[in-house]
Amino acid sequence: MGYVAVKGGAGAIAAAEELVKYFRLKGRSEPLAAQQIQDQLRLAVDKVMGEAGLYAPFLAALAVKQAEGDLIEASFILRAFCSSQPRRYYTAPAGTGEMEIIRRISAAFKDIPGGQVLGPTRDYTQRLLDFSLAEESREHVEDFLEKFLKDVKPAADFTFPKVIDLLRAEGLLDDEGGPAEELFDITREAVSFPAPRSARLQAMARAETGGLMALAYSSMRGYGSAHPHLGELRVGYLPLKIIHPELKEEVFVGRVLVTEAELITRFAAGEDEQPRFTLGYGLCFGHNELKAISMALLDRTMRAPVPGSPAEDQEFVIYHTDGIEASGFSAHWKLPHYVDFQADLQRLRSAGSRPEGED
């Protein structure tokens, strides 16, 4: 006991860490380069950046490698890294009309200004297991790239007008009140309820994809009455600027890949009693369409004046969809609870007036 136990715990932890490493490497296959993960497990890296709340593709790829592909664990590692870094700037508001598009579709309108751009999607492919990938070699990669790039012509324009601006121009869209003067930052302040929309959107942008999808799906399926139309879904690179502290003017700092979804939902009567559409908005880091759509749907459902289902309840959605908080707490039951259990054991025995059993 005592120091022996201290050393015992420390030794067990060190040994467990070694074992983790052993299980990752015991197959003796080629070590995965973080760059390979960044390039070839693109969507995993995007998910991790989104759920961590840090746009850093290489670091996210490294986290995926370190976590052996467990994406919640990888997001956790990357998000923890953020806390060690001071936050120096907030970017200037960015309009997604300036996005350099790789994909944009509308399900509400057949013909949209700029046209539908299918982009890289698996939506209309058959999900047959591709056995040829098992034999993919360097040569295949080079062959494919050479052939593919030969026929590709650069587009005249990478930016497209926003579909929902059509509705807005016609006055059919409910005014969302415009952006707040100062955005709530959930990473610097504890959120309270009812939460401002900026806090809800930020929380969902960092939320776990599966968690958001489960709640959004519950509303689409029956626990709620969401019936959305996908006004526009776009994926592309969004240029970001900060206000230079000395020059006091906007300075370009880089581009981030984002997915944006705008859902058009049922009527709301404005102050003039005219019926209007309302908009649900979703935006997340990387290419993650399910997350952006789920987020947009929940953005809309959470504006219900009186929550009638889980997806309409702000506290329910915001508190339970953060993957890092939920996974940490769900895993904490593995910690020892000897003391609490002893207290409960005593209470149970005494409440039932059972004999203590033999010593």
Binding site: G2, V191, E315, E325, S327, H332, L335, P336, Q342, D359
Partner: protein, 286 residues
Amino acid sequence: MAYNFAFIDENAKREIRRKILKAVAIPGYQAPFGSRELPIARGWGTGGLQITMSLIGPDDVLKVIDQGCDGSVNAVNLRNLLQKTTGVRTAYETRQATLIQSRHRIPEETLTADQIMVLQVPWPEALRSVEPSEARTREMHAEKDYSRMWVYLYEDIVRWGEVTIGFRYPVMVNGRHIMDPSPIPRWDVPRLHMAENLYLFGAGREKRIYAVPPFTQVAPLEFADHPFKTEDFGGRDCFLCGSTDTYLNEMFDSATGRKIYACSDTAFCDRRRAEGRMAEKHAYSQ
């Protein structure tokens, strides 16, 4: 890349210290704070850690315990993180520590005015068992509307003959706020009352800090005809040090197949043994 002293950045520490001051100013009130993500999972002590990280200085002597034990794996892991990022001295002896972080136990030894006790908190809201909504429980605290909590305790007595809450026993702090004392056993609850030391409570996932300042009244919720009771070990003693007035963990001795009891506070137990106090009637099975 080198990490900052105590991991989190200095701006975050300042904010957390300001929230601690707010919590001290309103004993038992849950002050919201911008909880940072740590390289430790949520639910594993991140609230306590952030308090410790924002308060610790190079001259502090740190003690970290989990369920009363310094050697428990999570305590070792948290201590390693703090030591790696601060280089401070650590202590096993409760009396030597200036800063003690703990999960689910208060050390047996009476703490002094020179010590700060930081407790890790999974559920900061004592009213959560009667009201799931955070917006609503904050209103209940603001209005000191605790009727549902009292009814809950009353119904427990009607059903089971006594209050069945084993740990996390709700307390009234300074006659104003009902507070969750963290999942300490009832045994530890009286130690919060009029203590010489400062108690700080941190809930990282739920983003709340609260405090019991020195010499503050802390009263467990009780009825005149159903007074609060701590655990009763029926005169059993620790099989290692023979103590009969400490919180005991029940274990099975695989060698003899009998139930044995040992102090949950291992530092306290070891010191008693070092002072020559041994259990008389137990033979060591180790």
